[in-house]
Symmetry: D2
Subunit: 380 residues, 4 copies
């Protein structure tokens, strides 16, 4: 990965101060893992049903289990800009303010199998605890979400299996996060270029805000980079190719974006919802409008407050960051969301898939040319 190129490397004038990895894993304790499923050659002909999908996990307090599994929960909240998508576990998240110890992102038709697999994994981790007894336990409500990869992937083949979740968890680390055609983002498309997983972070004093996206939304003409109408400049360049002509991507939004916001700022659930509501501001800057077919669903969680799950005896002792000082956090969410989307696009490689469909990577040099035309290229 020595040659990883990211948005800032191209001279895009992005605001704010990223953390050391410019990644959601800059938030201490957060781990991310991918299991990428690519089978059949990229030149597969129609009918060979290429697999272009996967699973990405975000583990708010990491995968290693020490102590009670319940203590892996964090305060969390969610918001939906446009709800044409699935995210399990949100009803309990809204009720309790507590987020599952595991978040998984996959394709639309595999949410169910990964959701049950997440329960299996949680049961295995919790020998001797409530989940393994015959008591109800809300850990049975993991958060699994998705975007649709049927333009490149044999979605109706239901190729994702429980072990792919376990693999993703096993691979999770707090190191840098692979971006582009990996994990749940493998077969995704963004503004009619190849999309996928992207991440970014912002520092605010001693605190960090990190964002991870699975980016699969957007029409070409909407694409905006640092305020520059890049999509309008590339209206007819490197459009996806497919058996249907014109392909649906040209006509109407078919995609979605999942955004996970992590922070170590000690925020309560109702404050985290305020962060989740700012995600659309960042998406708007790149050109997203939350199309009717979009499942644009956003999570926010805080790794602070180790006692978020409460104490069965006595009161939990919590800390709370003041509402009055949240404005820089709102800005950070918008900025890191914008940059994570760009990072996903810039890391992604050209891919072909089912039905001979093909989606191109956005060419890095063209971005620079267009930014330069509008006097927005930053020296770097």
């Amino acid at each position: 990965m020595s040659a990883r190129v990211r948005a800032r490397d191209l001279g895009i004038p992005l605001k704010g101060t990223p953390g050391p990895l410019n990644s959601i894993t800059d938030v201490r304790g957060v781990e991310v893992g991918h299991r990428t499923l690519i089978e059949q050659s990229e030149q597969s002909s129609v009918g060979q049903k290429p697999i272009r999908t996967g699973v990405t996990v975000v583990l708010p307090r990491g995968k290693s289990i020490s102590g009670k599994l319940e203590e892996k929960q964090t305060f969390g909240a969610w918001y939906s800009l446009n709800g044409n998508g699935e995210m399990t576990g949100t009803t309990w998240l809204e009720e309790s303010g507590l987020l599952s110890p595991i978040i998984a992102i996959t394709n639309t038709h595999s949410v169910g199998i990964i959701r049950d697999a997440a329960i299996q994994w949680l049961i295995r981790q919790s020998t001797g605890s409530a989940l393994s007894d015959n008591c109800y336990n809300p850990l049975s409500l993991p958060v699994v979400t998705e975007t649709w990869d049927g333009f490149l992937n044999d979605l109706n083949g239901f190729h994702v299996k429980p072990e792919h979740l376990f693999d993703a968890i096993q691979s999770a680390s707090s190191d840098h996060v692979d971006e582009g055609n990996v994990g749940g983002g493998t077969g995704m498309v963004t503004h009619d270029f190849k999309g996928g997983i992207g991440t970014s972070s912002r520092q605010h004093g001693d605190y960090t805000i990190g964002v991870l996206v699975q980016s699969n939304y957007g029409l070409r003409h909407q694409l905006t980079i640092a305020g520059v109408p890049v999509g309008e400049e590339m209206l007819e360049e490197l459009l996806p190719k497919g058996k249907v002509n014109p392909i649906p991507f040209k006509q109407q939004e078919q995609g979605s974006i999942i955004v996970i916001v992590a922070t170590d700022v000690p925020l309560l659930p109702h404050q985290l919802k305020r962060l989740a509501r700012r995600v659309p501001l960042g998406i708007a800057l790149v050109g997203g409008r939350g199309g009717n077919n979009s499942g644009d669903i956003f999570l926010a969680f805080s790794t602070a407050n180790q006692q978020a799950m409460g104490k069965s005896t006595g009161l939990a002792q919590l800390e709370m960051f003041p509402n009055e000082l949240m404005d820089p956090l709102f800005e950070a969410v918008a900025q890191a969301t914008e940059e994570a989307i760009l990072n996903a696009m810039i890391a992604a490689k050209t891919m072909d898939g089912i039905h001979g469909n093909k989606v191109y990577a956005i060419p890095h040099q063209r971005i620079r040319e267009i930014l330069n035309k509008y006097n927005r290229l930053k020296d770097n």
Copy 2:
């Protein structure tokens, strides 16, 4: 089923006028099917992992496919009294006002497999339509929900399979609905008596309101029938037996209740939400309080407005019932919810299951005795 005994047969003074079947299937077009999974003898010893679970489906416009699958959608809405449970598909339901053509209810750990299986079934029904093409289609967001049956069922054995959903759909009809230990309700417990599936309906002029519950909530002392404190009169009678002593059911609410409200009144999505918000009123009358461990989640849909899904060309023509005349509908929801819970309890049979746990049916004669003590027994 000649010997079916229901709440009204026992002389419980229930209000309102039920439809012909006193069932959710009194709402024309609605079909219900069950697949019950009971394996291992009821006297199985600990470790034999008895299966006591299943799947129940509610099909708002029935299972037969004529015309476009999209047209099977109805206006719908949902509400959660206490969200310690899973219901998939709610994010799109909230956004679009449209309910999936299929609702399935099963156990907590099988929501995922049934959710993906529902997509498979929808794909098979829609050959030639959008779902089988490589276009995104919101039909990929079915509603699957659950309650927890781990006190009797080998829940962690993950015994529910896709074919059990297909069986339940195949068996669906608009006839009377089996109640008690059937389908998703097989292993459920209510007020420390055996619970499960129950249904009831109310007529309002030419309109019908129908309710189906999967009832799995409640402590003994809370049980109230027609205002009479039946639970307090039976505090120590026929309590569940288990290996743990005292068993958790005595200590704290462990269960949940799912309620589906169907009607042919032409209500818009925001009006259906008003119905869903009245479900807790009916639950309160039987003694439920929405415990912290409860997934008390409610759906409401209307079979009116065949054009609810909209028209791809031109405007849909709709009818709307006036807000001002909804009060009798609110009352009907409360009444039918109350009666459906009682029907579930009265139809259920004593069952033993995993770990040698055992839950008793509520004895019908005792209900009559206690109602009589409080001068509330109705001549019948």
Copy 3:
């Protein structure tokens, strides 16, 4: 007030353990004040425009100002069973989790004048603080709510003035709370009997839950006391009299109920919302169904966590009660709501008003007779 008769005095078998005053003021720090406006003799003829209205205030941390006004804020939340009513300040409450230092309840047409008057009062209390400077301050968003008293009061005369709010605040105390025809409840009607202000409380260990209602809802036939169908037994007894015959109260729900839940349990905003969602369970027990014309809107707040408003420098230190132990609080909310409504009815006196309309107090002896008929009279 030596002769005050309350629900428990009549032998109604109510559950749970009330606090010393059986009042919302059992929650330490909470103060309640009334300003009652009754002008023109009760025998006033049509056209004399009798005034039968007022203002009730609930001050979560009391009226005396020591330290910063901002510190008078508490964590809070709200819920609406049926939103045909006004409650100002809820948008900020939902956003911030913080409740205004003042809650006022009046009639439907006087919410505005009292809302602005509350701001005036807050400005006067905060000399030298942000509100008096030229900085925006969210204390400018007080919570003022209402029910409709136009059946007895000259509502369209707009008789409530700012000084009536100031009087109510001035009179506020943590002592027992006057009930029935007082303050905002002066002209209210409940189940076609005279209603108004009522209160009750429950103890849970060292904690207290208190409820105050302004009760103005319900049709006669719905009235239920301790599970007994009292309304059905009194269908034609002492119905309201009016110039219109039959009067609207007989035909359709015209009223509303406001419920304020106070506690000293250290609950976060999302947990307080859980309390607010349980209020309908208590209303259901008395017969309410949340009619289309009803503004059934509920607040819950916690006096714990003195640092709820946050700290402008550094982190606030908070305590949190565990979700897992909230079930008794849910029960307490339902019980205290039920009892507060009954207390409002039992304290209220027969009143006549505008247009010669007249509403009767519920006769105490008849309650006892009917409870006795159903073997539900408690020895006392």
Copy 4:
């Protein structure tokens, strides 16, 4: 008004096709009126308490009353990006899907008096209808909202009176809408330049989307015009002047933005909520992030469906636009919101006010210069 200069006149490259007036009044039937309150000379010294405030009304079906007042209601919905503000009437709007016949916008401390005045006006218009009888009527729940003008206006002087609302209604027309320092927008500030009322519209086939804003939010550095970082280019130019130094506007967001979206597309309430949720996308494009002190609250309504209020006898006949075709409406909301904010700023004139504070109009020529620097100036 021959010299009216608007955003497009300056060569700002704005997308989409506006209606004939590029105003919310392009939506047929919608009327807008202002009552501007400016007293004391603009050179008033400290202590003279200059009045710089007013009232703006938006009348979804106009002010002339023919037929029943109830029929002036429209389907509507609302959304709050950041709820540090007041908007009355939202609880009933959410419940019923029906918007009050009158929307008024004023300053923070005058919401109450204008809200009660709106009821008075509605009563006067409805002689012989329910509001004038002694029946409850939900028309008593008008929508009144606000932003904070205390930097220029003597806010604590409570200078707005009921007659100012009546004047605004009287002046309402479907003609072009005055922008800038008028009506409720008189004393408002945007991105540290003078702000106020602005409007814009978009055509989509035969349909129109119109937007009106009362713009009072934003820090200087955030200001973005057509993607160009205009605020960063003018960081120190023409900043507000005040007695406090540095003044609060430099330090933290103190303001808010109210946005009203009108359309003649036949959308149901849940579809209108989708429009309201897109307003933040347009705000983001100009630089807004929904600060903690902001009351960024948005309404959307549709003038279609004359029977939206329902029929007391029989069913209403409605039309519904398909969800699938809503994407251009989402884009139109974002575009028209962006342009309305710019129109507010460009129309506004430099104003001084209380405490000698002064806010400057954004200089038009500088906008052109900066756009030109970034090659974004459109020939016009």
